[in-house]
Amino acid sequence: MDDFDSPDHQEDLSKEDMEVLQAFHDLKESTTSDDSFLQQTAPEISTTYLTNTDQYTAFLSEDDMLALFATEVDEDITTIRLAVQQLEQANQLDSTGLKALKRSAHKIAGTAAAIGCDSMSTIAHHIEAIIKLVENGSLIFQTGLIALVNSVQALEATLHSIVSNGYESKNPLLELEEEYKRLNIDIQVVYHKKPPSPEAANDSSYYWLSQHRSEQDQNSSWLHVDLQHFDKLQEYTEKLIELDTPMENAQKQVETALNELQFAQARLRRLEPLLSGLSISENTESDTLIEGVGHPPSSLVARILQDASEHIVNGPQIKNLVHTQPLLIHEAALWDEMEIDRFSETNVLMHSLSEAITDVSLATSHLRQALTHLKSIVAQQVGEARKVRSEAFLLQSLPFSVLVTRIRTAIEKMAAAQSERIQFEVSGETFEINQEVLEKLTDPLLELVQMYIAEVLFFTKRLEQDAEQSHRIWFNAHTTGNESTIEIGFSQEFPSMAVALLQDTVHRLYGSVSLQKYDTGKITLQLRIPRFQRIIQGLLVRVESQFVIVSVSQVKRIHYNKQGINGTSSQERNSLDMLLNDTHEVYHLNRLLGFHTVKNTAEKTVQTALMLELDSPQIAIEVDEVVKEVELVMKPLSAHLCRPGITSTAIDGDGNVHLVLNLPEMLRLKEIYQQAGGVVIEADSENDHELSFPQPGTESCRKILIADDSMYIRQSINKTLSYEGYDVLEAVDGLQTLEQLSKESPDLLLLDIEMPNLNGYDVLNILRTHQEFSALKIVLLTSRSSEKHKRRARELGAHEYLTKPCPQDVLLKTVKSLLGEEKESIPEGEK
């Protein structure tokens, strides 16, 4: 239940507003059922907690808590039942229904475990497991549906036993597990994380964007294939195969040429010692050799002989040798091979040498030709391979319209429910975007749009003249080079916090989000995402001794001062600087990266700069050198290594790690940071980072915020903490958590992972981008107990991780320890 239901809010709203709120609330929750037996058995409890939560909390008895638990579980069971009914009607997987199912089942599992109702918790876990089996294709949809119906009945029976008898009956669970066996469902498969069998996967249908694929299913072979792209792929593959023969021929040519070269080299080697012996025998003989035969018109031989001479003669004699060369070469040209008697053995030797040199030259020439040919073939093959790869990637593409349809439906549903006029405009629907990108963007974009509509409907003080004004949302997609760009516009501003939702997803896709606000109130978001995931076409840029990669599509042009500082005239330098300074904001990349500061830029001429692909302002990023263009595979950075503006790394053939930069994102963050009055902390700062963490306040009454969608969990913890003298606040979902954090500035946050409207991870992600929450202590309190979750929470900045059900003493010990009220550490085994 959220705070729209509180009496304070209701008094401030008009009747019309209340209707709107109710409609939205119904749309969001859609859980109320008239035939709920608990509504008949415990109506007073439900009413009480809806109307006066805070006062009620402090005086709850054990029985009250049990009734509260029963009421809440009953609501969740109703949600599950309705979702199952929807699935039955639709006769196919529906992501919205499944989401509600999963969320409610997970909530019951956690809450029931907390209160000690293990059977109920197990049944809820089984429901989660059944959904997973259906999703990954290990279980046929219809069988899964029967299992779900049985599970709901088991849940209801278990709850009934609690309400009627005051204790939990295990029979419904045992009967349910028997039913699973009868249906041939191996529920343990999910718990043991076995991948689905290929046969089972083949039986399932593929629903794009209709489900979240599990981790095992990420590499599924199911893809939508466009016939046109497939034909091209086939054509290019055939070309690749055709290139095999020319490749083999080219290789043979190179081998032949190499053999020739080796033979010629062997001849040269045989001649070398003889020549050396002759050269060092005596100076006069050497002179005769040179004078009698002269050098063949080869600079190589001339150099060999000259080197040999240099070892045996002194300076002046070398000069004489050089002076005589033109004449000797002329004599050599007149030499008659048939008059062999006239020439000594040395002359013959030199002739052989000349021939050998010619052979080597010829072989080298052949080899060079062969190499050129080979290079050409290889280049062709690489070109074809790239085409094949591109087409393969395109096989994974889908038109933007697929995503647009989902968003349009969501908008229409919400807007219709609220009788609001919301215009939705789209351009570039036919542009193809990587399926993985679209799939990952769907949920965050839907949430963004829903948040905007909610903002428009509920949080904005609408003026009289605005009442008639419709709101606009527009999407525009296009592709530039290796980058897909999606522009999303809203006619009215709303909390930029919502954008943070997108950022994490987009960053994981190696992209960036730029936010542009206009005076008219409208805002646009520009999502830039590489067209081909995992491969970057970028510029290898040097800043001091560090090399980084900047995406080509982010750079409009490269500004070079070709002659450099020393080689440029002062007039040229001035005009160059004026060009940059008048029209551009100039940043040095080293400084943007937060590395060692460069010299005073006022005294330095910009030599090389990257002009960014941004409309306004014109920005130039000064670098030391643009080395070359590269195409490398991107490696995502672990969460703890992520830094503003650095999207990933790429490792080159020499094993060097290069940071892949997102310059627009880096600039945007720098601007935000500067506006907030922050000081850029450099990497080699002498500050000890651990010691510089902000310390919590020292007020005697510390505020603690509990964020959990389970009313029972919230009340239970509230009771424990209130008793210890803490000022306790509550939030039912992620959005309310953020609101409470902004308004109340608590000292500690107890955060659940599975929550509606931003889960715990989303909240952590947002908090880490806001410096004002740096002193906040965060404890994850969740039923997720796997190391994967613990690690992720740690990486996202959670200070502690507790698993539900958490003993009271452990919870208190953790809270006190984090708030500096208890020096003892928490026993490792209890975490």
């Binding site: 060097n656 790690v657 902390i681 990497a683 980072h689």
Partner: protein, 190 residues
């Protein structure tokens, strides 16, 4: 007669005192069956040279020992004990100066050895001035109190399991998560 198998609470309640304590002694003597090989493996430690004396790192946490890398890639907003990133088996991993992390003193440039350590999917490169021999550490002889014999930065006490033969024994299960958390936090708080 002493029962050989686990008993219910009811059975235990009906036992005579002597019978109960005999049963308890038998149960206490049952130790987990660990092969001698496994036992040795668990206690093998590698001795690493640091500026303030040597320390011991569990060998099972060391995936590879390599010469110190010639170069590394700097990353912004990192703790001063992190040098940057290096490539290891096709992935970029953080390169840590263990001397700086533990003692607050920087190791001499990049000379030394690179120990690639792994714990629960966390992989980091630990730069140490040098390594020594492997030592078999008897866990019962590890003194959990660090005391004054080890002069490490107080904030690092949590990553030291205890002292063995006057050498601190590092607890990798605490060290690596701490390192990861500190690196992550540095991105936001400097």
């Amino acid at each position: 007669m002493v029962p050989q198998h686990g008993l219910s609470t009811n059975d235990l309640e009906h036992m005579a005192d002597e019978e109960f304590w005999n049963y308890a002694r038998v149960q206490a003597d049952i130790v987990p069956q660990i092969s001698p090989q496994e036992r040795n493996y668990q206690v093998q430690h590698l001795e690493c040279e640091l500026s303030r004396g040597n320390c011991l790192i569990p060998l099972r946490a060391i995936v590879e020992v390599l010469p110190s890398p010639h170069q590394y890639t700097r990353l912004p907003l990192i703790p001063k004990w992190m040098r940057g990133l290096v490539a290891w088996r096709g992935e970029a991993i953080p390169l840590l100066d263990l001397d700086m992390y533990l003692c607050g003193v920087s190791a001499s440039r990049l000379a030394g050895m690179l120990l690639v350590a792994n714990y629960m999917d966390i992989t980091v490169g630990l730069l140490v001035p040098g390594i020594g021999l492997t030592t078999t550490v008897q866990f019962e002889q590890v003194n959990p109190s660090i005391g004054t014999t080890v002069s490490y930065t107080p904030i690092r006490a949590g990553v030291i399991q205890g002292v063995y033969a006057e050498k601190p024994v590092l607890d990798v299960s605490a060290l690596l998560p701490d390192v990861i958390q500190q690196i992550g936090m540095a991105a936001y708080y400097g």
